[in-house]
């Protein structure tokens, strides 16, 4: 290729990618840098009225957070959401994907739509329905549990039941998206391999374990990373269902950041929470990648 051709290709490349790069810079990179800067200041309502009331306080926000018991409780709650939620979501969505991919299933498109529907419905609307489902006295869930002899559970009022309640809601709401990813991966599993395994006498479980699972490992990694970062950033569900209660048992890190920033209007401290959360997610994702590399998924 001639030099002229190459430079015109470079120009076209820049031309095509500039809008996207500009949007990323303006709407993602700059705000992220601004909030990093903000985390070293004590931006609060006084600074809101007059910027000369803003002070640079280096790492004081971070030190104050580490000494704040509610921050640690939010961290702990978030860890529970991640530890319980990620396996639950991955298992549910993989199960659902296997189901709607199964050849003996009739009306497959209908099943796919039905299982994907929760993901695309409005969160607040579904939260209203779920609050009825989880209602202590009139809720369908307690009614069902009652018929097998389990006493009524105060799902959204008991500090021990509220986190599982939110988790069930989150799993129901978001497994559809992962299911689609798994479904796409399942359809790339070579049929001849499955059939060869079948001829060699492999049962359903060993076909799944030794043929399907290795084939969808990259998709599994993607889903795991997305779910982990989603679980770390849980906010809307506790916000609409419990407002962080009862006894702050559903305050997540992001909910804590929201309260710090927009309820108490300590934007500096809120930005510091965001920075910590960012570092946490990056670290966990790195660990996942390293683990996946060792396991041969990528």
């Amino acid at each position: 290729m001639s030099a002229v051709g190459r430079s015109s290709e470079v120009r076209a490349g820049w031309l095509l990618s500039t809008p996207a790069l500009a949007a990323i810079t303006i709407f993602f990179l700059l705000p992220a840098l601004a909030s990093l800067g903000l985390s070293f200041t004590d931006f609060d309502i006084y600074a809101l009225s007059d910027l000369s009331n803003l002070r640079f306080i280096s790492l004081n926000n971070f030190a104050a957070l580490l000494g704040n018991p509610l921050f640690w409780q939010a961290m702990g709650n978030t860890m529970w959401f991640v530890l319980l939620g990620v396996p639950l979501l991955v298992a549910t969505s993989l199960g659902a994907a296997l189901l709607v991919n199964a050849r003996m299933l009739k009306w497959r498109p209908l099943w796919r739509v039905a299982l994907f529907a929760p993901y695309v419905t409005t969160l607040v609307a579904t939260a209203v329905v779920w609050r009825y489902l989880l209602h202590t006295r009139y809720g369908l869930i307690n009614y069902a549990l009652g018929s097998v002899g389990v006493g009524p559970i105060d799902w959204l009022g008991d500090p021990h039941a509220s986190l599982p309640a939110i988790l069930i809601f989150v799993a129901w709401k978001s497994f559809g998206y992962n299911m689609i990813i798994f479904l796409a991966a399942l359809q790339t599993v070579p049929k001849d391999l499955t059939e060869a395994a079948l001829i060699d006498g492999a049962g359903a479980w060993s076909r799944f374990r030794h043929v399907t699972l290795p084939a969808i490992a990259p998709a599994m990694l993607l889903v795991a990373i997305l779910t982990v970062s989603g679980m770390f950033q849980l906010f809307a569900e506790p916000y609409v269902m419990t407002q962080g209660g009862p006894s702050q048992s559903t305050v997540t890190v992001l909910y804590f950041m929201y309260e710090e920033g927009f309820k108490w209007w300590n934007l500096g401290s809120g930005a510091a929470v965001a920075v910590i959360l960012f570092l946490l997610i990056v670290t966990v994702t790195m660990l996942q990648l390293r683990f996946a590399k060792r396991a041969g998924a990528i």
Partner: protein, 416 residues
């Protein structure tokens, strides 16, 4: 309205708020309101506008749970309406950030015939920043029948006698029952006791905690004794699913609460129970106690283009037809004392007495956060983690930490 487009252009973050501002071109005055009042305002304004002299008002309802955030976001984005209803505890903050101005001299009539403690809540740095619209406070709801069986007409007003009466009432109520309900996650109960003991809670300038003062220590020790002596259950409000039926059952015989409880009692408890409860003001160390004056005020925001029209609306809402209509539509207790005579409800007298004895809470923007911390410490004290003195010291240290910025501001003469 030109301004509105500029705002929308510059402040992408608040487009939602700004666009509601732009969408309603037809009205002269934009007003934000919350809860019941927001629902009643359109009809209230229609009732007042018989001679069509009022400017047209478009009311934007906000939920109470997010109204405070929306006001601050509206200020940050320059998207505030001309006027708004605000909770009395937010006035200090709105004044500190410069969202509102003191009530102008020409409107000072609006502040007459009002409860002094409520006006004092709106007074910051010697100036009054908002016009009280309706008021509320907390009194004791008590079981007439159980107190009668214990030998009392009503809970006595002095702390010593009051506690002695509670012991007797608890005995009358029987095994497993208590005498008073003060959920440990609600800070209002300790605040009522502290105000009754004339504790300041912060120093005069509002720069340091004053929880270790003798008056507050007295209130805190009294609060603790109610739990230690088994008069109050060590429970948070989420653990008591139905306050009214528990009250009727005799689980507790005294429940300090606000005027909304009158309606709840009437609605949720059977007709034959209605003669068996009453209201009296809170007790104090040496006679009738105190309480925090609550309620909402009206503000006209700084720099509102049509502030004249907005003040006309405030005047209409504070006039006697306006106050009477508010009482009728919402059941709120009007801020103007003259409008109280018309209310025939016998339970209301206790509120009037209590309001005459109310005292304003500290007026610093950090207050709400300080009381939340206070209650966290108080609950730990009740669960045995702190003695009274240690708890007070812990409250002081937490308050002082929260007030650090304010001290810096005061030193530079920048705080109100």
């Amino acid at each position: 309205m030109n301004m509105c487009i500029d705002r929308r252009f510059f402040l992408a973050g608040v487009t939602a708020l700004a666009s509601t501002g732009c969408a309603r071109r037809s009205a002269d005055v934009e007003m934000w309101a919350m809860g019941n009042e927001a629902a009643a305002l359109p009809e209230l304004l229609r009732m007042l506008n018989t001679d069509s002299k009022l400017p047209s008002v478009s009311v934007q309802p906000l939920p109470w749970t997010s109204a405070h955030e929306k006001l601050l976001t509206g200020f940050a984005g320059g998207a505030l309406p001309a006027m708004s209803q605000v909770g009395n505890s937010w006035i200090a903050e709105l004044a500190a950030i410069g969202a509102i101005e003191p009530v102008p001299e020409a409107q000072s009539d609006l502040l007459s015939d009002q409860f002094e403690a409520v006006i004092d809540t709106c007074r910051i740095g010697g100036k009054i920043w908002a016009v009280p619209w309706y008021v509320d406070t907390r009194v004791q709801f008590y079981r007439r029948d159980l107190f009668a069986r214990a030998g009392y007409n009503a809970p006595p007003p002095r702390w010593d006698d009051w506690k002695a009466a509670l012991h007797k009432v608890k005995r009358v109520a029987g095994e497993g029952n208590y005498a008073v309900l003060m959920p440990v996650n609600e800070y209002e109960h300790l605040i009522t006791l502290a105000l009754s003991a004339k504790a300041g809670m912060l120093n005069e300038a509002g720069t340091h905690g004053a929880f270790s003062e003798p008056n507050f220590l007295q209130a805190l020790a009294f609060y603790k004794s109610l739990f230690d002596e088994g008069l109050a259950p060590l429970a948070s409000s989420t653990q008591i699913s139905n306050v009214w039926s528990e009250f009727a059952r005799g689980y507790f015989s005294v429940y300090p609460s606000g005027p909304w409880t009158i309606g709840d009692m009437k609605k949720r408890l059977p007709a034959e129970f209605q003669k068996r409860w009453g209201t009296v003001p809170n007790p104090g160390p040496d006679g009738i106690g105190s309480a925090a004056p609550g309620g909402s005020s009206l503000v006209v925001f700084r720099g509102a283009a049509n502030s004249g029209a907005a003040w006309n609306v405030v005047n209409a809402l504070l006039g006697s037809p306006g106050q009477a209509a508010l009482q009728k539509l919402t059941g709120d207790m009007p801020a103007r004392k003259a409008s109280w005579a018309a209310n025939a409800d016998t339970h209301i007298t206790a509120f009037a007495d209590q309001l005459e004895n109310a005292r304003a809470l500290p007026k610093v923007p950090e207050w709400e956060r300080i009381v939340s911390e206070m209650q966290v410490v108080a609950e730990r004290m009740l669960r045995g983690q702190f003695t009274v003195k240690q708890a007070a010291a812990e409250m002081d240290s937490r308050a002082n930490r929260l007030l650090e910025k304010r001290r810096w501001m005061v030193e530079r003469g920048r705080a109100l």
